[in-house]
Subunit: 394 residues, 2 copies
């Protein structure tokens, strides 16, 4: 344990830590796992959690795909092995929209992540030391391919639904394009077919902030003392993201121009006197540093920027023509990061081929994070959609 | 001269550099210049430029207020003493909307700036060494008070118009609130009455990036070797701002998902292989580092975050009730940083008191920077508004 005042060098889950509800599956033990980058990994670990029971014909399995800083802990309390409550806890459980009394629900930490699956903080099989700068660039497709190995190991031939928001939606889309026969239905929330220049711009700024932190050490910082890791760079990268995840109006309502550090409230005119919104952003950054890994942040961010369902497939139209899964595409009107037009484009690309598709818009002021915040609005459409998929009524 | 490959430690104009078209006015030579921060400066230099001729009754003077990284060089070519073309060159000149055949046009580098006016890179009068970390926090009101000293020295009792965009608009608004009898008319473009939480958030992230740069050295970096200044922190801060100055759609049209560094174009899957939008942002950051000062960036950014016409005036309503200048408030529909509702609020706050006010919206996809890019749309309304002000027809 590090002192509560010293930021950990990495917030990654490490072998030997309490597994919590994680299960582990290792693939590429006999042959290498080829990546889009043209290199390969071996002994690739997938940390995952499951809820509910797989039925006899393996027809009730739902895959949840997590977002940038998510992990396999989609549902359940925080506790030993799980620094945070499940990221979709209000949506997943008995009687909830993703009803674990009906469905066998699977959520895997992505390749490149830091909560049990192989990523930059994991031990390299050659020497047992963290990959660090040796970890290759991975793509959304690599993540999906790794999940496909897990799927096979679980005895599932087709997902009843693949469901994801933000980067999770990128994975869900790639599932439907890469493995059309393995996806019975698709739910893509607040996501896009191709990362746009503006999305890449935000990602690039975060990368630069981490690289600027001298404690990042080119990616090989794992042996540093507590408090001597790249926490400040990661915090700034997270601050950038956090603004794009929310909205102008909600920031105004919640923070306005209030000052933080009220013990110093006379110091309005100090350069480093913080406004409340700064305190909030730094708090979120600090929280992330305690549960995440800077190199994983880079790795997953780059995967998102490289996300392009058209890459190597001739055109966007030809790529999307592979999708045969009935689809629910969900947008959020206040989302500045993945604006609603992008989810409408997904819906239109699928519907235009005659595949059943619906577009649902969440009427929330909370911006991109509304897919995590406004479960109230997503609950009914998602429950209905999954129910129809289960009855083959789509 | 530094090598073209080595970034300068500061891009500030320094005493001894070619003055170009600058003129200099020094105030607070006999008594100190009190700042909102509760401290005072002395020997405060204002670098300014003028165009045209002041008429006999000093009734044709127009004050232009510049934005964050602007300077006194509102019009004219780049050249000796002026690293860039005038920031509003298409709007200011003979026969142009701000017609220098008719008006005496003044533009002063702001207090805290780095292009000739007193700022953090300026010599401290006590020891001749740069202020650096000794430079106090300044406010928009301090900038305006310093401009008011210049005004008096020029023999001007009332501006025909005070005109500004972005931070320039903040100054223009404060002019109308602080000195209502000295402002005949007001043009406030893409600005706000109070910095919002989201605007502060972007500013805070830029501050943190500069502070993270070990070469910033707590603000005392001026004696570093070329290439050893806080250029990387400033570059990242500028990258954040640059995204907020533009728009999603234009980034998509202009950059899409193109890769830069075409000599390395095979390296799509390299963490530091850049997309074209990254190259563009880094290019803008690099350009800024060559002509600006990191501490000035902090200083002016903080002044913008502290901008609140209501501060110390009871309420926003009471502050805005001081404005008696007929006003043109200009918004840009695609502006994500200063959304158009903020300029509508300015218009409404003034019009509701019975003061003549009009709201004009620039129909441009270019975002906040449209006030610099789309002179074509601002030209006619601005020319007409100034003409009516000159004829006392407002």
């Amino acid at each position: 344990m590090t002192s509560p005042d010293l930021l950990p060098v990495t917030g990654a889950w490490q072998p030997g830590d309490d597994p919590g509800n994680r299960q582990f599956f290792t693939h590429a033990t006999d042959r290498r796992f080829a990546l889009d980058a043209g290199v390969a990994l071996r002994d690739v670990v997938v940390a995952y959690e499951t809820w509910g029971h797989l039925d006899a014909d393996a027809s009730n399995a739902v895959l949840l795909c997590h977002a940038w800083t998510g992990d396999s802990h989609a549902a359940g309390a925080a506790g030993r092995g799980h620094p945070t409550e499940g990221w979709w806890d209000d949506m997943v459980g008995p009687g909830r929209p993703v009803d674990t009394d009906r469905y066998f629900v699977v959520c895997a930490n992505v390749l490149g992540g830091c909560q049990g699956s192989t990523g930059p903080a994991s031990p390299h099989p050659d020497d047992g030391r963290p990959y660090g700068s040796r970890f290759p660039v991975v793509t959304i497709r690599d993540m999906v391919r790794s999940q496909a190995r897990l799927m096979e190991s679980l005895g599932i031939r087709r997902w009843l639904a693949v469901v994801g928001g933000s980067m999770g939606g990128m994975q869900a889309l790639e599932w439907a394009v890469m493995y059309p026969r393995r996806v019975r239905s698709l739910v893509a929330v607040a996501t896009c077919m191709q990362a746009t220049a503006q999305q890449i711009a935000w990602g690039a700024i975060g990368r630069r902030a981490i690289r600027l932190d001298p404690k990042w050490r080119g990616g090989d910082y794992y042996e540093a003392d507590p408090g001597d890791g790249p926490g400040e760079g990661l915090e700034i990268a997270r601050m950038v993201a956090q603004v794009t995840f929310r909205s102008d109006n909600v920031f105004t309502d919640r923070f306005g121009r209030e000052l933080a550090d009220t013990a110093r409230v006379g110091d309005t005119f100090d350069m480093w006197q913080r406004f409340e919104v700064e305190r909030y952003l730094e708090h979120h950054g600090d929280k992330l540093v305690r549960r995440f890994d800077a190199n994983s942040y880079l790795s997953i961010g780059k995967a998102m920027d490289l996300h392009d369902v058209a890459r190597g497939r001739g055109s966007l139209e030809r790529a999307m023509a592979r999708v045969v899964a009935p689809t629910m595409s969900v947008g959020i009107w206040s989302d500045m990061l993945y604006p609603a037009y992008q989810q409408q484009q997904i819906h239109e690309a699928i519907a235009t081929r005659g595949v059943p598709s619906e577009y649902v818009e969440i009427d929330s002021p909370h911006g991109h994070d509304a897919f995590l915040i406004n479960g109230d609005q997503l609950a009914a459409p998602l429950e209905r959609f999954l129910g129809r998929a289960a009855k083959a009524d789509l």
